[in-house]
């Protein structure tokens, strides 16, 4: 009998993803579903999808899901977690959602140290509305509202969410990862697991930022989109752990 070594995660529904070819959302969804399965927390996890391409995330996650209005994920998640503190609550947000229209909600949920997890998909554009400039668009990047490229004087600078939020005492864990290679995918999965572990240990706010390809709006092939993340985007948004107060991490720091 053939041995099954790879299959669809148990808690991803049998639906076909609506995401474009080469988009990072489907990989991120898969990783979250795998971690939920491995940690055995499926019945006690609630997800909060955003406005944006992932608005239909509830079609894929076989979990309790409650839709947030644009940017309001962490505020909605706050209400869920405060009334159901034994649940795992995650908000899944894009860059426009988290770092523009919802920056206040993100900042203050983090500052209150809400014991929730935010998965932050950063693809440097507003994907669903057609590739307009996002807060994380890098300088000189061309978008449909910065046809000549993002200009620092006119449009300001890319917002570095992990760097910003890691300054807040309420934040337990902030890491930036990407999905451009199997090694990076594995790292991202570990970060997702760690974020849920922070929640389990009631350490406070955890955020995993995932640099994610958007070949459609970047007008690149999926391979070139990954290359662009590795060669350009991750220079602006370094892949790093910006905060980690988990006991293991603290021990490592002391050892150094």
């Amino acid at each position: 009998m053939a041995k099954v070594i790879f299959q669809r995660p148990k808690y991803l529904k049998e639906n076909v993803f609506h995401y474009c070819p080469g988009c990072g959302h489907s990989i991120a969804h898969r990783l979250i579903a795998e971690v939920i399965e491995e940690m055995g927390i499926r019945g006690i996890t609630i997800g909060v999808p955003p406005a944006g391409c992932a608005v239909l995330a509830y079609n894929y996650f076989d979990l309790d899901m409650i839709e947030a209005q644009h940017g309001r994920g962490p505020a909605l998640a706050t209400g869920l977690k405060r009334t159901l503190p034994d649940r795992f609550v995650f908000s899944y947000q894009g860059d426009g959602d988290l770092a523009a229209i919802g920056i206040a909600e993100s900042f203050h949920a983090a500052n209150r140290g809400e014991n929730i997890t935010v998965f932050f998909i950063n693809n440097a554009v507003y994907g669903m509305t057609g590739g307009q400039m996002a807060p994380t668009t890098i300088l000189e990047q061309r978008t449909t509202t910065t046809p000549a490229g993002r200009h620092k004087t006119l449009d300001g600078y890319p917002v570095k969410v992990c760097e910003l939020l890691s300054q807040l005492p309420g934040v337990a864990y902030a890491q930036r990862c990407t999905l451009t290679s199997p090694a990076q995918v594995n790292k991202t999965k570990k970060a997702i697991r760690k974020a849920f572990q922070c929640q389990k240990d009631a350490l406070g706010f955890s955020i995993v930022e995932i640099l994610s390809p958007c070949p459609t709006n970047w007008k690149m092939s999926p391979i070139d989109a990954c290359k662009w993340i590795d060669e350009v985007m991750s220079k602006e948004f370094p892949l790093d752990v910006f905060k980690d107060i988990t006991p293991a991490a603290q021990k490592n720091t002391e050892a150094v």
Binding site: A51, V55, E67, Q69, H70, G71, G96, A100, I101, I103, Y126, M128, T129, G130, Q132, M133, P135, T144, T145, T146, P147, A148, L154, D155
Partner: protein, 391 residues
Amino acid sequence: MGKRVGLEVTVAVAEAVALCRIDMAGGYPITPQSHIAEHLSNLVADGVLDAEFVTVESEHSAMSAVIGASATGARSYTATASQGLLLMNELLPIASAMRLPICMAIANRAVSGPLNILNDHSDIMPQRDTGWITLFAENGQEAVDLSIQAFKIAEHKDVMLPVCVNIDGFQLTHMVEPVEMPTQEEVDKFLPPFAPHATLHPAKPVTMGAFAMSDYFAEIMKAKDEAIKNSKKVILEVWDEWGKMFGRNYKAVESYRAQDAEILMLTMGSMGETAQVAIDELRDKGIKAGLVKLRLWRPFPFEEIRAALKNAKKLIVTDRACSFGGPGGPVFSEIKSALYAGDHHPAIYNFIYGLGGRDVPVQDFTGMFEKVIADTDNKAKDTYEFWGVRE
């Protein structure tokens, strides 16, 4: 004379706004508005339009930014839809109280929840009482024309109020339609440079948006109400001037085959063109049906409505939004209110339809007529019906 060209309506609107030589535009992406902001950003980047184009972090900030810009005397513009308009809501009465002639396109889209990106009027209806002059376009040409007229109306010294132009999302915004784009010379002739009543200027300091308690607040509310009521005269003058210049005539209320009609239908927005086809079909069958289209929502044209409806035995009012637990659709309650003061009281029916982008083909309009014709009890009714909804 401008050229007749095929353009997506959002692009045509952005081109029209650029012809108005705006100084400032603020925008945040939201479907189905985004192409207006995108095309304005192209025109600025290409050097065609000399304006500030700012991509802000939310619609709340977009409206705040254009309020700031307008206060300095800049001709200011933004566009939004649905949730974005609701997010702006806090600022809308402030723009009108500060008498700032901001112009805005609303690519009408259903309000959540459930989340939907398609067309109805549930976004603009909750803004009814914010003191904005509110116009509805029926097709691409009207969207272009009203967008230009909006600045002239808003900036008139007897008005000085913000104006919004409602353009049905997708059904209008994303259509490629033949439109006659006026030339720059024509728009310059029609629309003089903005001469603000008061601006923030260091040489002559003023306070805008000052605090007012019970001693003055009511007077300011009355002043706003008087201003928007008085704006109708200016709106009609502007339309008259437009008609003379461009040959396209605008009225607050338009009628189609209504002269001898026994049953009238009333629409607002893009549905009027489909309803018109239904009227023709009914007329071919010998049914005396007619259509009345409402273009001006605020200030509400009471006299024109009473005049347009004066011969109808039965009246069908259609609505693209609902006032939950209230008197029916918002247009319906306004029409009833207008008729109450008059002498003529037709039997009146209300259908709420086309919600969240539900398609409304010609046979739905003829179906509404058939249903109303079949009703022999002509008494006034306090009911409304969600048309074509599964039970």
